[in-house]
């Protein structure tokens, strides 16, 4: 082993340099392939929504549209203006907003409270409460459809936006509680002790001490809950119909109930409109999320 001379190290150095270069280019190649694979459906959707029906029939999936033609978007949003049978997204979009905003707010808030109680206060049976909450995460949606329908009927809020808010809030609590619990576990309990000595009570400690440092987990929860509730189809289609339906149900009705020709451009535009709010939430909140994580606000 003594005769590994200077030059042989030089050779090894060269060799590893080439290997590294190859691996790097291979990495980029794979990344580009995956990026194309994921962006392809979006490309088809956007391109198709900008074409006229004439263009769609003549060209292929991939052909570029002749120009920026937003007609199908307007139709998807506001309809064609003739009475019966004209389904368009606008009213259902607002239904969804009216459903998603309170549902996200309440489920996040209740989850934060529950996580706070489960981590910072000891009470008899706290472990059982947590276990049942965990259990709630694993119950399949389909299993609660019938009992929930009955509950909503008894409460007199079936087929209404309020009913959907209730369903989504209740069903979101196990998840949001779990998020907040896991976050609050990492916050030193000494903070709560210090606040108790300073004379702060249960709610004051929550609002003044814990909530101000919870930004990262609040954002995570909002992203999660917003996506879940906005994209939900099962609860929406089961517990509502007609005018009270959320946007995903309306989208389904629109696409399936076309009487004459399949208007692919309108369908695609509708699908994009239905997906935009989630995208906005990701883009806006994602930034705050990263900022919250990196500011190190929790420590100290």
């Amino acid at each position: 082993m003594q005769d590994k001379t200077h030059s042989s190290y030089k050779q090894l150095e060269q060799k590893s340099k080439y290997t590294n270069m190859f691996l790097r280019w291979f990495l980029y190649f794979v990344l580009v392939i995956f990026a194309l694979y994921f962006i392809f459906p979006l490309y088809v959707m956007v391109v198709t929504s900008l074409k006229t029906m004439e263009e769609i029939r003549q060209g292929t999936l991939l052909t570029w549209p002749s120009g920026l033609n937003f007609d199908s978007w307007l139709v998807a949003w506001g309809g064609r203006g003739y009475g019966a049978g004209d389904t368009f997204l606008k009213p259902y979009f607002w239904n969804s907003i009216k459903m998603v905003v309170p549902a996200v707010f309440f489920s996040t808030f209740i989850g934060a409270m529950a996580g706070y109680v489960l981590t910072k206060w000891r009470f008899k049976g706290d472990k059982w409460v947590f276990l049942f909450l965990l259990f709630g995460c694993f119950i399949p949606y389909q299993a609660i459809l019938l009992p929930m329908a009955r509950t909503l009927g008894v409460l007199g809020i079936s087929n209404s936006v309020i009913g959907l808010v209730l369903v989504h809030t209740v069903y979101g609590i196990p998840f949001t509680t779990l998020f907040f619990r896991n976050f609050y576990v990492s916050i030193p309990s000494e903070l709560v002790k210090a606040a108790r000595i300073d004379g702060a009570g249960f709610f004051k400690i929550f609002f003044k001490i814990l909530l101000p440092v919870s930004t990262p987990i609040i954002v995570v929860t909002i992203i999660w809950q917003f996506t879940q509730i906005w994209n939900d189809f099962l609860f929406g289609s089961t517990f509502s119909f007609g005018e009270a339906a959320p946007i995903q149900v309306a989208l389904n009705n629109m696409v399936l109930s076309s009487t004459s020709v399949k208007e692919y451009n309108v369908d695609m535009a509708s699908a994009i409109i239905a997906g935009i709010p989630t995208l906005i939430v990701y883009v806006l909140a994602g930034k705050y999320f990263i900022r919250g994580l990196t500011s190190g606000a929790v420590k100290g």
Binding site: P188, I197, V213, G300
Partner: protein, 364 residues
Amino acid sequence: MKTLKIEELSKNFGSTEVLRKINLEIDEGNFLVLLGPSGCGKSTLLNIIAGLETINEGNVHIDDYNVSKVEPKDRNIAMVFQSYALYPSMNVRENMIFGLKQAKVSKEKIEEQLEKVSKFLQVDALLERKPSQLSGGQRQRVAIGRALVREPRIFLFDEPLSNLDAKLRVEMRREIKKLHQQLKTTVVYVTHDQTEAMSLGTNIAIMNHGVIQQNDTPENIYNKPSNTFVADFIGSPSMNLIKGNLKESSNKVSFVTRGSNIEIPINGYDFKEKSNLDSREVFFGIRPEHIFFKKSNEEDFEINLRADLSEYIGHEQIMTFNFENQEVLAKFPSTVKIDLSKNTKLFFDLTQISLFDAKTEERI
């Protein structure tokens, strides 16, 4: 009137007994250190004094008033935590006055207190900063400041220095000592660091397994440990405990180890009870720093021991000797040259020894 009095206090978490029949008293202005290994119940005891933990049995009195069921905020105490526990979303000013605001103290009084304390602790330039913008030492100061503005009857410290690096810890230790000298407020201080305990406390209560082993002045804890646990826990390296028997003949007591002819005379030892000494199984305790390489006084016992191991630590060296197959450690200045595997002449300072019963492990 005792500032703090704890009577027959017991605490258990489920079936685990954390504290057992604790009795403790502190006079006004004293600095009591609760010292013990982790899990000995010292932090639980502090939390009970603060009112953050409930009690299973017994009572806590502050100024002769039974506070066992009183809320933490009404106990007239303030606490400094290991993690500082500064409210992360508030700046230094808000952190320090949070308690006073909760107590609905007038605005003028709050400002006055804040100015006084922040000047005193030299944090007046940091008032607008967030805790995350402070260094470890500054956070520590603010945490102490938050406790000071309340002007409590008792300060509670829960291992306040263990998050700091070694150098800063020594500095902050001095500052806490100065603080206590100036304010003369009663303090209860929890630590597992014996140097901290020795240098800060006017009294030290050593705890193990939820029981107070000895509650005494630092001098007595060091010189007259009440049992082998205390003897072993205090001092670095800890006290040598040599197993053997006592021999009493014609009113002269001496110590012999089994199967050896070395006989160490026990003169002038302050026995708790001078009876039944003959052939009693005991531990002969002598601290490494009380073994010398040259005669220190007339009472010294001269002995030849083989040196087995030498640990050099800069200003001194710790030597391990063989005493009838038991290890005996001694501490010498590092300038002394001692050959390994050879017999060395040593001198035991017999005025500094401790004797413990081998069965009960209590001092005799």
